[in-house]
Symmetry: C2
Amino acid sequence: MKVYQAIASGNSYKVRILLALLKVPHESVMIDLAAGEHKQPAFTALNPRGEIPVIEDDGHLFWDSAACLAYIARKHGGEQWFPSSPAGIAEVMQWLALSASEIQFGLQYGRRGATRGIWTVGGPNECQTLSRIALDAMERRLKDHDWLALDRPTIADVSCFPYVETAAESKVDLAPWPAVRAWLDRCRALPGWPARG
Amino acid sequence: MKVYQAIASGNSYKVRILLALLKVPHESVMIDLAAGEHKQPAFTALNPRGEIPVIEDDGHLFWDSAACLAYIARKHGGEQWFPSSPAGIAEVMQWLALSASEIQFGLQYGRRGATRGIWTVGGPNECQTLSRIALDAMERRLKDHDWLALDRPTIADVSCFPYVETAAESKVDLAPWPAVRAWLDRCRALPGWPARG
């Protein structure tokens, strides 16, 4: 498996977490975000959205972090990390959706804005509002459950972790969400969970 | 199955399309968006994001349109609409992700802004930019494929359809994307595909 990624990218980190947890051998192709390599034709030929991560495996090419997580989980983790039953898959996918919407447009873009001054969609207030919606939804689940979906860690947790962990860089103080903070620690304590890098 | 929904909501329409295609008996609970019923405690107890659709079935409760589609597809459509193989699931999920990101924050919020004057995340320019990214990605796939994922209609098509169909209401003219326009017609021609309502 070939993984196009960058260390600074939280979306790439999602893929690195799952590859580490499942001990999947792979080759990394590092993309130079500062030089805009992900927006150049050689890369957009792989992903029309011009974003990392992208994975290549067995003649397949997949863009989008949730799709990459789904592929890796189903191929290397059996039913454990992304089940195939109707209720199991739907429960996990609720949180992948939160990741792609409120977490991306709130915490992720809020972090990019706060650290690099780039505000592409909405400004600090909009990002704060979306971040709070995401964290409130997570808190409500996590105040009496250890994991976001089912009764075990799944790609729901992997997908939501990176941009919640860096909430301070998005100018979001996690103090009002104690169950979310405890969950971050539970994730980090999983055997094989890698540091951000 | 109980479906909390509204006729004006494109996300609810996604669920109605799949329920119609698969002929799934269900009961609808109509939510009054104009009165803000989806933001009131009785409803946010069901969905912390305060959004429709939500489905209830066999003691399960699911929010988010992609999660609802996944549940219905796996329960009532076998492998056809949402396969469980690693490559099949990942291919479909790429387009569910596009739906939750660029299509939602571009076409959906651009439509709400243009028709109701409500701009919650970004303004007209940001929505136009995100809409173009989504439509370019779809055009590239559809110019030599009939369907977004695999070689058949899947929930990828169901999920992307509603807010692309109403692009004109988002002030996006689909003229530059002929393959997308042909795909809209192919979707509508599927046996059982329901009109918006």
